[in-house]
Symmetry: C2
């Protein structure tokens, strides 16, 4: 497992895990189905190409889908569904990833943390965004604990024999616990059908690791479904959303998902303090010299 680094995307471009120069290609498969082939490039330009077409189709038909194939990790899914919700759409997104979760009854990682994200527009507020993996925690939480030599809280992970463990090294050799036992494994399986199957990409078990330079491009996928609430329930939809969220917060300690994120965004409008070493590393990576596959690895790690 490769050490996490702010420069991992650059390192992966340098070692050929992702093609930093790929030009994604858009196909309209039906008036409501858009496909973008990321051509083993980053998911971000593929999504940037596909989302406006998805938006347009969803407004005409009330529902539309965007299938991104042959791509790399997209990072936060919430970012993309929030963009759609800011334009008034309800959005649901699935992504698959390299293996971390064992199937129910198994011990060997087979599904990625396979997350889903959901966003819906709000009245006078940032959209409500849900973005969560099929595992109890994201893999980086276990990697972090392992690097710090810390013990894991119970329930996060299983060892190589499929037994619950709080030992981070044993967890690294084992698998991540799915949420709700077999239910989280089934959720990860379903997400593989959308993000791998319907996008003509690799399933999780076929994907090379997102965590190292081995095995070439992972060729995973992202699948987005957008709904125009105006088509379903008119202007009433956003008012009804506020009714639900107000009622939900009638108990004092209830938190609307994403509140911590939107609060942090508000607090940090003037800017975010970044350690000098990180800033210098970013400056170096953002320099004129394009990082070609096979060269520049040192500058990137």
């Amino acid at each position: 497992m490769q050490k996490r680094s702010p420069a991992r995307y650059c390192a992966h471009a340098a070692c050929g895990k992702v093609d930093g120069f790929a030009e994604p290609a858009l196909d309209v498969l039906s008036p409501a189905v858009i496909r973008v082939d990321a051509r083993t490039g980053f998911a971000h330009p593929a999504l940037a190409l596909g989302l406006p077409a998805l938006d347009e189709a969803a407004r005409v038909f009330g529902v539309a889908t965007l299938a991104i194939g042959n791509s790399y990790a997209c990072g936060s899914l919430g970012y993309f569904v929030e963009e759609l919700a800011e334009r008034g759409l309800v959005a649901l997104m699935f992504a698959n990833a390299s293996p971390s979760i064992a199937p129910h009854g198994g011990k060997v990682p087979f599904f990625g943390t396979n997350p889903f994200a959901f966003a819906t527009p709000r009245s006078g507020e940032a959209p409500l965004v849900i973005d969560q993996s099929s595992s109890v925690v994201a893999k980086v939480a276990v990697i972090d604990a392992h690097e710090r030599g810390a013990t894991l809280p119970p329930g996060w992970a299983l060892d190589a024999d499929g037994q619950p463990t709080t030992d981070a090294a044993a967890a690294m050799a084992g698998s991540l616990s799915p949420i709700g036992g077999y239910k989280g494994a089934s959720l990860a399986l379903m997400i593989d059908f959308f993000a791998g199957g319907l996008t003509c990409s690799n399933f999780s078990f076929e994907a090379s690791s997102f965590g190292d330079c081995d095995g070439g491009p992972p060729r995973t996928g992202q699948f987005v479904i957008a709904f125009d609430p105006l088509m379903f329930s008119g202007l009433k939809f956003v008012d009804r959303t506020e009714t639900l969220l107000t009622a939900m917060q009638s108990e004092p300690d209830v938190r609307v998902p994403g509140t911590r994120r939107t609060d942090a965004r508000r607090r940090n409008q003037a800017g975010i303090a970044v350690p000098t070493a990180l800033w210098e590393s970013i400056q170096r990576l953002a320099g004129d010299r394009a990082v070609m596959p096979g060269e520049g690895t040192e500058a990137c790690i």
Copy 2:
């Protein structure tokens, strides 16, 4: 909480919780969005009316949705998505229900067990079907334990103070544990937006209980999205599904979701033994005399 009974649907028709004579009404909101108003009747005739239209739209556009509003519990969601998958479609379904799960940080039930179901076609086999609630167990599991005076396994439920409990009576006064803590509560919230919000129906917190005769019709909803895999990945999709499921079962104890159900179906093709009392009760309920709201309650319970 009303005692479970094979005749509960009849009891609810008799007491006005559901209108057994309602005629559902179909609206085509766009070529890819179908809405059926169940008019406070059973979800089943509304789904029977909407599913063929959904099927047709999904084949033309690759994706289509069916929003069922103002309906009652639909029972097993898996039944309906399996029907679509038997016709070659990939299907995803959401339903909301009367409150059982508290929001994250809260103690009072606010979301239903809000299940989702997914089905996908297979080659020479019954479709793969996933059908699961946002709670660790379905509410009936807790009701059953309560009726039997049994202790609950840890992790199933919370008491009225939001603390984990294995006492079935305390669980009945409290709430069901969502899968993965806040993640299950967020899943239930998302499903409320689809099944309640986009269908113009009640949210879980506004719905009368599915478990008693109080409060009139629950007016909950069901939301189905169907995808034609031929439009996305051609004939390859079903082969790829088999590749995934074969690889998944390379460890000996791994079970494909729904295997127990399909095995039971195979085993019981000649028929199922039913206790005499249950058979007589069904015969009585299926008799000529229609049960009108307000009459016949005794015959139904």
